[in-house]
Symmetry: C2
Subunit: 175 residues, 2 copies
């Protein structure tokens, strides 16, 4: 499945770290790219691209001021639009339908999501109806979509970790 | 299962939002309390306690400067100590063992985790060996421990959400 993330309303400095976490979760759990709206942030883009350079894969982050355009273009490319919100229908009720999509755009809000997003989305999905974290909600959704396969992804990076019971084992490819 | 979270090395202002997300995920996914070390932060404590007041449950956040003391006391109370780290053994290899615990202390690091934490822990657990987010890692671990039961928790709060296909439906108990 092709998965893109749309992160709405990025604000500086407030969302610097949360949006970075959203991007890194997207990458680690198998999405191909994150588009973000709100404020442009060179630091977000360069920190993710530096990490991809070391840890592998081809994940990209790009900015698009107009989130409506992102949704419209993705719909035209055949993406199903899934908005994560604590007001939505529980993931477990919709996961089977969501898995039928070949291409999925997962929309991740910030503090104030415009009402129209709820209507532009094919699915409004909640990961519990409690307030918690868009980072956690995204991780749970991607984990369910991947059936846990993210634990087996090989990013073929310059840096790799060898899992260990105690301490840190890092392998560095000589390039 | 009784679940406590230990958030290490909270720094202001850098970790304000991430630590809040850790606390809210802990609550929403069924932990009973979060203890944090690092810098004391009244804002973190009051924002979580305000949220608990509205949304229900009895989750608490408390500060303890000395994280070694927290681990030691929890071990004495019969808690199994599980440290989340991307250097650790995949969750899927250890989840059956972890579920046998009646009481679990989940240790969530920040930027620089002292080496001794890896040795104090009974389990060093990774949610993929890729860099992403302690918020996401915690959510995945708690989701697996709860077998997804977090979707059915009732916090009996003053505010409740009625899941909806489009838009927001909020119920407020008159108190």
């Amino acid at each position: 499945m092709e998965i893109h993330i749309l992160r709405l309303g990025h604000r500086l400095p407030r969302d610097e770290r949360i949006s970075t976490h959203v991007a890194l979760v997207a990458r680690a759990f198998g999405a191909q790219q994150m588009i973000y709206s709100g404020q442009h942030d060179d630091g977000l883009e360069s920190s993710v691209s530096r990490l991809v350079g070391n840890w592998g894969g081809s994940f990209i982050v790009r900015y698009e001021k107009n989130f409506r355009k992102v949704i419209k273009e993705h719909r035209e490319m055949g993406f199903v639009i899934c908005h994560l919100t604590m007001y939505g229908i529980p993931l477990s009720d919709k996961i089977i339908e969501m898995k039928k999509a070949d291409r999925l755009l997962v929309v991740v809000g910030s503090e104030a999501v415009p009402a129209e997003v709820y209507h532009l989305a094919d699915f409004n999905i909640s990961v519990t109806n409690q307030p918690h974290s868009e980072v956690a909600a995204l991780a749970i959704v991607l984990d369910r979509l991947q059936d846990g396969k993210e634990f087996g992804f090989d990013f073929k990076g310059k840096v790799r970790i060898e899992p260990s019971e105690k301490g840190k084992k890092v392998q560095k490819a000589s390039d």
